[in-house]
C-alpha cells in the first residue's frame, strides 16, 4: 500500500515518527513535492479564503499526492500533550481537506487525543496499524520504533540542527559565527518550510548570523519558564514558544528575535503579542514577519537586511540603537 504524507504542517515535527511506523509495517511512503508556488496556488484555489498560508499550502500538498498514492495520511490531531490542545484547525483538518479537494483517494484520519489519557496514543497507533496488518504485536513493535526515531529526531534538533535540514538528510556541519545570534520563533511549519520562510536560514547564514529555534531548547526548560505565566497556556506549541521566549529573555544568548507569523493565525495573534511584550521589557529587538500568499521575497529581503544591519550596529555599540523607537538613555546624557 502506498501512503502519501503531505509535506506540510506537522510534517516538520512528526515525519520521522510517521515514516518509521508506516515503513515498519511494510507500506511505501510517498512525500509530496517540496513546497513551491504551484502547490500554493493550487491549494489556495480550493481552500477557504481566510485560512492561514500553511493550511493552504497543505491543501496543495494533498492535491499533489492525489493521483500518486492509495491513501493520504491526514491525522485528526486534537491534543498532543496532557491537558493541552493545539490549533482547532488541526482537529477539523481531515474534514476540511475532504470537502475542499475533489476526488481524493482514501484519507486516513485517525484521531489523536491524549488530552485526558496518554494511553490513547496506543489506540491511535492501533487504528492506523490495522489498515496495514492484523498482527497486533507487529503494530506495537512498529509504534515503539517510531517513537524511538521521534526521540532521536528531537535529540538532533536539541543539538542545534534545523528540522528543515534534518528532514532532507542534510546534516550540515554546524557553523558557529562569532557575533550575532538571532532566535527564530514561530510555528514549526512556518519556521522550517523554506518556501514559507523565504529561505530565511540561508539569508541569515549569508549575513553571518547564527540561528537558534525553540526546538533547540529542551522541553523541561521551556516548561519551567512557561509555567511563569499566571494562567496555563493551553496550546502546546504556544506554550513552547512562550517558554523559549522567556528563557531567551533571561539569558544573554541572543541579540534579536525574528517571529514568523502567518496572516490570520489565531494562536500567533496572542503568542506573538505576548512574546513581543516579554522581549520589549528586556530591550531585545523583535521583528515580526507576517506572511500570506501575496508576500514578496524582495520586500522581505529589504526588511531583513535592515534588521540585520541594525543588530550589527547595536552590537558594535555604535550609538546604542533603540529597538523600539524610544530615545536611549545615552542620547539623553549627551544632551
Amino acid at each position: 500500500m502506498k501512503i502519501g504524507i503531505p509535506r506540510g504542517l506537522l510534517y516538520y515535527l512528526y515525519f520521522p515518527l510517521w515514516d518509521t511506523f508506516f515503513k515498519e509495517l511494510g507500506a511505501d511512503v510517498v512525500i509530496s513535492a517540496k513546497s513551491n508556488k504551484a502547490i500554493l496556488t493550487n491549494g489556495a484555489k480550493i481552500c477557504a479564503s481566510d485560512a492561514c498560508i500553511p493550511l493552504k499550502l497543505f491543501h496543495g500538498h494533498v492535491l499533489d499526492l492525489a493521483n500518486k498514492v492509495d491513501a493520504i495520511f491526514v491525522p485528526r490531531l486534537k491534543s498532543v500533550a496532557h491537558g493541552e490542545y493545539i490549533c482547532p484547525k488541526f482537529c477539523g483538518l481531515p474534514d476540511m481537506v475532504r470537502y475542499s479537494a475533489p476526488s481524493l483517494p482514501r484519507i486516513i484520519d485517525t484521531e489523536v487525543n491524549i488530552r485526558k489519557k496518554s494511553g490513547k496514543l496506543k489506540q491511535s497507533f492501533e487504528e492506523v496499524g490495522k489498515l496495514l496488518t492484523s498482527d497486533k504485536k507487529k503494530i506495537v513493535h512498529a509504534a515503539e520504533k517510531a517513537l524511538f526515531q521521534n526521540a532521536i529526531f528531537r535529540g538532533q534538533m536539541l543539538n542545534g540542527y534545523l528540522a528543515s535540514d534534518l528532514l532532507q538528510n542534510r546534516m550540515m556541519k554546524k557553523q558557529v559565527f562569532q557575533g550575532i545570534t538571532v532566535a527564530v520563533l514561530g510555528h514549526v511549519y512556518n519556521v522550517y518550510d523554506n518556501f514559507i520562510n523565504m529561505n530565511l536560514f540561508k539569508k541569515m547564514y549569508d549575513c553571518g548570523i547564527n540561528a537558534v529555534t525553540p526546538e533547540m531548547i529542551s522541553d523541561t526548560v521551556t516548561d519551567r519558564y512557561a509555567a511563569e505565566m499566571p494562567k496555563k497556556i493551553f496550546w502546546t506549541f504556544s506554550r513552547k514558544l512562550i517558554g523559549a521566549a522567556k528563557y531567551w529573555a533571561d539569558s544573554d544568548e541572543i541579540d534579536g528575535v525574528i517571529y514568523i507569523m502567518s496572516f490570520g493565525c489565531g494562536i500567533d495573534s496572542f503568542t506573538a503579542d505576548l512574546c513581543e511584550r516579554i522581549f520589549k521589557k528586556k530591550g531585545i529587538p523583535f521583528y515580526i514577519i507576517v506572511i500570506d500568499e501575496h508576500s514578496g521575497e524582495g520586500g522581505f529581503e529589504t526588511r531583513f537586511e535592515a534588521f540585520a544591519d541594525m543588530l550589527k550596529r547595536r552590537k558594535r555599540n555604535e550609538s546604542d540603537f533603540s529597538a523600539y523607537g524610544e530615545h536611549s538613555p545615552i542620547d539623553q546624557n549627551a544632551l
Binding site: 481552500c47 481566510d50 490549533c87 483538518l93 496555563k232 490570520g264 489565531g266 496572542f270 506573538a272 511584550r277
Partner: protein
Amino acid sequence: MKVTFPHMGNIHLLIKTLFDELDVDYVIPPKCSKRTLELGSKYTPEMACIPLKINMGNFLEGIERGADTIVITGGAGPCRFGYYAEMHRQILADLGKDVEIITIELNENGIGELIAKLRKLFPKKPLATIAKGFFDGFKAIKQSDALEQYSFYVRPRELQKGATDQIMKQFESEAMCAKGRDIFKAIKLAKDKLSEVKRDPDCRPLKVGIVGEIYTLIEPLTNMNIEPILGNMGIEVDRSLTISEWIKEHIIKGGLKLKKENDFVKAACPYIKTMIGGHAQETVGHTVLYAQKGFDGVVEIYPLTCMPEIVANSILPEVAKDFDIPVLTLVMDEITGEAGYRTRIDAFADMLYRRRENKRNELVLSGN
C-alpha cells in the same frame, strides 16, 4: 470595589440582576459603539479576533467610569476565548491601569478556587443567596432571549412598519433603568406590547436561520443589527445560539458534568465528527437542521481569523449543496463597512425571493 464586565448582547441584564440582588457596586460600560471598538483595537493585537477588541474597549470605558475590578468568564481551549482574560491582564498592566481581573472558570485548580473567587466578589453573602441571584439572573436572560425571538416573529408580519423596532428600543432603555427584579416587569410589558402589534394574517415570510460564532451572532455592534435588517425586509429570522442556551449547555450542564444531548451534534456528524472548539459543530449542525426544517436560507457570521469557524466555513459549501440551501457568509472585523454589508444582505434577500418564486412557477408549469 467597583466591578465592570464586557458586553455581549443582553448579557448585562443577567449580570445587572445578579449584582443588584447581591448589593455589588458595579458600573455597566456604555453600549458597544464605534468608540468602544476604536479604543479596543488601539491596544489589542492586530490579528486578534473582534470580540477581544470590543471587550477591551468595554473595559477601558468601564475604567473611565470608575471601575477597578473586571469580571469575565474563562475557558481551557482550544478557542482563543479561554486566554482572553490573560491577554487583557497583560495589556491593561502595560497600559498602567491598576485593575483586578476576576475570571469565573473551572480550571485545573478545582472548584475551591472558583468558590474563593465568588466569595471575593460577593463578600459576606451565603452561597444560597448567591445561587438565588444567579438563578434570577438566568431567568432574566432567558426571558429576554424569548422576547427577542418573539420580536423576530412579529417584525416581518407587522402592518405598521417600525412598530416592533420602537417597542424593542423602548424595552432596551427601560431594562437599563430597571433595578433588580423590576426587569421581569419590563420584559412582561414589552411582550404584551409586541403581542398587540397589528399583524398581516396572510403574511408568509421567508425564513432565514443565522449561524456562526456566538459573540458576533449576539452582539448588535458586530452583526450590525442583522435581525432587524432582515426582519424589516419581511424575513423571519431564527438565531441558532442564545446566551441562555449557552449558559445552560456550558456552565450548568458542563459544570455539573451532565450528559449533553443535542440535535445539532447528530446533524453535523456526517460532516464534522468531533467537537473542535468554538461553535464549528453548531454552525454545521444548525445549517443542516435549518435545511431540514424548510428554511429558505442561512446566514453565517464570524469574526475574521476565528479558528473553529474557518473549519466550519470550508465544510458549509458541501452542506449547502447536499441540502440545496443558500448560505451567505459574513466575516466581520473592525473595518467592515456598513454599506457593503447591507448590499450583500439585500442581494441575498432578493435572491431568496426569486428562488421561492421560481420554485412556485415550476410547480405550476409542471402541473403537479
